[in-house]
């Protein structure tokens, strides 16, 4: 077991790096109902999440773009994959527990950088809340740094 932990760590790093190199669902969703920015452009990372709902609590379209470190970009792509491929409802997305998400990524990798690890997920949740409020088509883009 002593030897197993570093291997797991390497595997988890490799997963994040693979997502950084092949980001899932990255791009602009032209007909998004909500465009939600999150994060800090110069510190850790920033993302913009594009969400389209079907009006019945399901996610019809979800994508993102952003820039940042390996943790924030990799974790955003992983969250996107889970939500889109898993056909999660908006309610299910809101119920994803941040601590559990960080545990799965690897607490030993993330350490104190939980904000980076949850940047994408928290911005997706913010987009869903915005959608649910009925404030559609918030087209505000973040000011570039």
């Amino acid at each position: 077991l002593e030897g197993a932990k570093p291997a797991l760590r390497e595997g988890r790093i490799a997963l994040l790096v693979e997502h950084v190199n092949n980001p899932r669902h990255r791009g602009v969703l032209r007909d998004a109902d909500v465009v939600m920015p999150g994060g800090s452009p110069e510190c850790g990372g920033s993302v913009v999440v594009y969400l389209k709902g079907d009006g019945n609590g399901k996610v019809e379209g979800l994508s993102w773009r952003g820039e940042g470190d390996t943790i924030s970009m990799g974790a955003t792509s992983i969250a996107m994959e889970r939500i889109v491929e898993g056909h999660l409802t908006m309610e299910e997305v809101l119920r994803i527990d941040y601590d559990e998400f960080v545990q799965e990524l690897g607490k030993d990798l993330i350490g104190s950088r939980t904000r980076n690890a949850t940047l994408g997920l928290s911005t997706i949740k913010a987009a869903i809340r915005q959608y649910s409020k009925g404030k559609l088509a918030n087209t505000a883009e973040p000011t570039p740094a």
Binding site: M36, S40, I71, G111, T143, A145
Partner: protein, 302 residues
Amino acid sequence: MIVDREETGMTEQEIQEKGYANPDALVSTQWVQENLDDAANIRIVESDEDVLLYDIGHIPNAVKVDWVEDLNDPLTRDYVDPDHFASLMSEKGISPETTVIFYGDKNNWWATYALWVFRLFGHDKVKVMDGGRIKWESEGREMTQEVPSFPTAEYPVPTRDDSKIRAFRDDVMAHLKKVREGEGGLIDVRSPGEYRGELLHMPDYPQEGALRGGHIPGAKNVPWARAAREDGTFKSAQELREIYEGEAGLKPDGDTIAYCRIGERSSHTWFVLSYLLGYDNVRNYDGSWTEWGNVVRAPIER
């Protein structure tokens, strides 16, 4: 791809030719290549914003110092205490006589931050690898995932002296009068959007944000990365003087305070002003905007 390092790698002579007040504060990638096995005298330290880069690959014989986990106190907003610093040094095989060569991502942004913290503890044998990680990588030099192991070193518990290179909120408040009278320099090294107070309106802004946006009155805005060239190396002394003295009006013999959001970007500017341009009196206000923008009645300009 075969790279002819003799021709493409920056040499010490090229650093000399950039005209710095303290050219010895920098070493070239070529120098690091030639000295990386000299573990008895030097320790190469990688310090990044992107904390996983070291695991993905680093310079052979480099150790990692993480500004979050290693240098920040986990409870109080401060740096680790002298006992922790001494054990960190010991664990990395660094003695007070070891010359520490810092490098990292983002134009050595976090490398200079770590260097500044080392200086708080009186570790003065410090240098930066000009060009940082990106230059090393672009020159096709060797990277490894192997974490080196060095014998633990004796590192007596140092005394931390914050007075010379670190400014606190009250110091900045007192400094405002000097700034108004043209006797003190104040430099805000954040992006223009942050300086103008426009970026705080983003929804879901991180908890490190501030309640108010803007800048400290009298501060001039010179984004930190303007000190670097596209290849990650520092601009020449003349180019730097044109920016910091020509545009921002700083005086080499003046009293200068630099700040950003949490004090890391401004440590880069602190390094440029104090080492490369040789200013005697530069302090980094690490409380920076996340403190100032939350202080009741602190004066703000937009």
